[in-house]
Amino acid sequence: MSTKKKKRTSRRRASSGTRKHKPFKTRLWRAFLLLLGFGLGLLAPWIAWLDHVVTSEFEGRKWDLPSRVYARPLSLYPGLELSAEALEAELEAAAYRRQASVSTPGSWTVSGSTYTLFRRSFEFEDGSQPALRVSVDMADGEVRGVRGPSGKLDLVRLDPAEIASIFPLHDEDRSLVSVESAPPLLITGLQAVEDRHFKNHPGVHWRGLLRAVAVNLKAGKTVQGGSTLTQQLVKNYYLSDERTLIRKLNEAFMALLLELHYDKAEILEAYLNEIYLGQQGRHGIHGFARASEFYFGQPLEALSEDRLALLVGMVRGASLYNPRRSPQRALERRNLVLDIFGSTGLLSAQQVSVAKARPLGVTARPTTGRSRYPAFIDLVRRQLRRDYREQDLRNEGLRIFTTLAPSDQKAAEAAVIEGMSALQSRGLPASLQSAVVLADVASGEVRALVGDRSPARAGFNRALDARRQVGSVIKPLVYLLALEHEQDYNLLTTVLDEPISLRQADGSTWSPDNYDDRSLGPIALIDALVQSRNQATVRVGMNIGVQSLISRLQQLGVEAPLPAVPSTLLGAVELTPLEVTQLYQSIAAGGYAVRLRAVTSVMHPDGDTLNRYPLRLVPEHRREAVALLNYALTQVVERGTARELPALLGSVKTIAGKTGTTNERRDSWFVGYTRDRVAVTWVGNDDNSPAGVTGGNAAMRLWAGLFRRLRLKSVDLDMPEGAYWTWVEMERNALSDPDCDGAVQMPFIDGTEPQQPSPCLQRLDRGNQRSIWRKWFD
C-alpha cells in the first residue's frame, strides 16, 4: 500500500516542479511531507516484514540441509585384490565420469590395464585430501602399482561414493548439492545464461531490469525477465506465479535484503537446490541434483556438458521446455544454451559442436530419487536411531560415513537377481523372496545388504526383518558348546545318531528324524556336524543342556525370545539374516566377536566428529574350541552337506559353511565364510508357506553366485594357544602318522587328542625303535 502512495507522491512532486504558484506549492510541499512521513512510517514496518519473511524462509530451508551418507572410501595400494570390473563399479558409484582425457576431478579413463583417474578433494575424519591425478596399474585381479604426479604412491584413498541424503525431518531421501561439489560449468553456465552480473549486483540489477521493462513495454507483453538469480530464488519461495508490479517490487526488496544477510555462495547454493525444474505428480522437482536424477537417472556430478546445458535452459520454463513432453523445444533450448556457453568462452567451439550433436539423453521414465541402496540405508538409519535423538539428527548437514562397499553391493545384487531367476527356471516358485548380508569378518563392517529379490525396491527389508526359523544353521553352536567341554568331547568323540524321544512341556513326545529318515548309529562328532545329523545333534545338545545354548545365543547378541525346548537344538528359533550373520561373525573371526556395524563415524559439517563407532573386540574365552569348529565347518564344504559348493564356485579355496533347511522346506539358509568375508543368504516365501527349498538347492546357490564375483581367500586355520594339529586315523579314533594310509590332520585342544596309537603308527614306532637300536649297534 505504502509504495503506491509513495508513487503518487512522487508523481505530484514531479508535476509540482512546473507550477509557479507559491501558496499552492507550499500546500503541495506540506502534503508531500505528510505523505512522505506517512509512507516512511509504513515503509519501515513493511521492509521489516519483508526482511522477516525472506530470512525465515531462507533459514528454514537451510535448516533442512540433509545428512549426507557416504560409502566406505576405496583405498588403492599395490597388492590390493580388486578386479577391473570392481574398480569400475566403485568409480561409477562415486559418480566418476569416463572421459577421453582426464583433466578434471571426478573423471577417469582406461588404456590397456592402466586406469587413470582424477580423485576429488575430500574432507575425511582424519584430515582433508587434495584432488589428485593418479594412474593405477591392474593385472590378474590385483592392483600392481599406483602412481601420482610425483612418482610411485603407496596408498591412495578415493573420495567415497555418496549413497544417500537423509532428510531426518521428513523421513525422505532428497538430493542436494553444495557449491563446492557442483560441476563448475553449472555455476558459470547458469550465470552466463541467467545473470551475468551475479557476482557484483546487490541483489537487483537495475539496468538489466530497466532494459527488460523497456523491451516488454515495446512488445506489449513479458518477453524478458531481467530478474537476477537472487530475485529468481526469492520468487521460487512463493508458489503462485502472478506478475504484478507489487510482487515485482516485493521481490526486488527481498532480493536486496537477502543479499544484505547472506553471501553470494550461500545464495547460489540455495538457488541450486531450490529452483523449480519439473513436476512429478504432486511433488515439485526442486534443485539441480534432484533434477539430474529425475531426468537422467544420474548424479549431478556425472552429467556431461550437454545435459548440464539442458538443465540450465529449463530454469527459464520447466514445463515449457520439459524434455519428456516437448523434446524438440527442449533440444532447441539446450542448443541455444550451449551456444551461449560457447560465446562466453565456457566451452570451446569444438566442445559445443560435440555437445550439440548429442541426443537429449533423458531417461524414458523418471527415477524415484530414492537411494540406490534402500536396504542398506535402512540399516544405517537403525544404527543411528540407537544413538541419536530425532532432534539431533535434524541437525544441519551431518556427514555419515558407512561401511558399504559399492562393488560388493553390486555383486550381491547381481547374485540375487541372477540367482533367483535361475531358481525359477529350475522349477521353484516365482513367489520366492530372498535376503543377503555380507560383512567383513575381522571388523564386522557390513559391506552389502539385499532385502528383496528386486534389490532396488524399498519396503519390507528381509535382511533385517524377516524373522524365520533357522534350522540346521544353529547346529554349529551346539557343537561349539560341546567342544568347550573338552573333557567330554573332541572332534572324534563317538556320538549316537539314533532315534530319540523327548517328553515336551505339553506332555507330547518329540522324536526328531534325520533328513534322510535313516540313523547312522555311532559316528564321530565331526561327522554328525558335517552331515547335519538331527538325532546325534539332539543327543549332544541334551547332554550340554538347551539352556546353555540359549545363554550363548543371547551372549552373541540375539535379542529375540528363545524357547527353552529341545527343538531349539535343531533351529526351531526365529532369527533374522542379520542376527545369523552376527552369530557367525565371531566364529569366522576365530572367537573375536565384534558388533556388526553399518556406520563408522558421524561428522558435523564444521569438521568435528560427533560419534565414532570404532572396532571393539570381545574375545571369547574358549577360542580353541572355536578354532576346532572352524575346521569342522570347512569339512561341511569339503565332504558334507555343502560339498557341491566348490564346484558352484569353481574354486579350490578352503571355505567354511553350513546349510539350513526348515520343516516342509519353508526356508533355505546358507552361511559361509572365507578368510575375510562372512555372508548369509536366505530364500523362502514371505507368508512362510512351504517353498520346496533346501539349504543346498537355493540359498547356497545364491551364496556361490555372490562369492564367484568376489576374491576368495582360504579360511585361516592356524590354531591359537591351547590347540594344535595332529595326525589321526578317524575310524579308529587313534593317533596316526602322515606315512599311514587314511591318516588325516585334525586339530585338538591340548591334552584331548586320542591316546591310542593306530596299528600303523605302532608299526612305524617299532620300526623307528629298531632303527634306533640298529644305529646303536652299527
Partner: protein
Amino acid sequence: MVCLLALALSFLLVSCASRTPAPVEDREVEKRVRTPARQDSEGVQVRPLQNPAVIQLTDEARRAEHAGDFDQAAVLLERALRIQPRDPEILQHMAEVQLSKEDYEQALSFAIRSYDIGPRVGEICARNWRTIGVAKEHLDDPAGAREAEQRSGQCMNTRPAGF
C-alpha cells in the same frame, strides 16, 4: 595484519596449552611395554615384511600418538587393519594406543588377538604380555597381571607353548 598474527599466535598457544601430551618417554606404554620389550628381545627379532600402504598408515599413527592425539592414531590403525586385519604388529600397536587412551578392556583384547595370531616369541610377544599385564593391573586383576608379567619373560625362551 599484526592483529591477525597475534590472533593466530594466541590460537596456537591455546591449542598447545589445551593438549600438551606427556613426554613420550614418560608414558606408561613406553616405560612399561615398549622399552622393556625392546631391551629384553635384543637378538630375538621376528619382523615380517609389511605392506608399504600399512607402513604409511602406521607411521602416521605413530606421529599422531607422539603428538598425544590417540583418537586419530586409533582411526589410522583401524584403516591399517582394514588392509591387513591379521597383522600382529598393527594389532599390538592398536593395543598400545588403547592403553594410552586408558581403554584397558580394548587394550587387553587387541593384545590377546595379536598374541593369538602372532609369532608368540620375541619382542612382539613381550609387548603383547606386557600390555596384557598393564591392562589387567588397571582392570583390578593383580593375579592376571602377575601371570602376564611372567609370560612376557618367557617370550625370549625356547619354543612357545602351542607349537
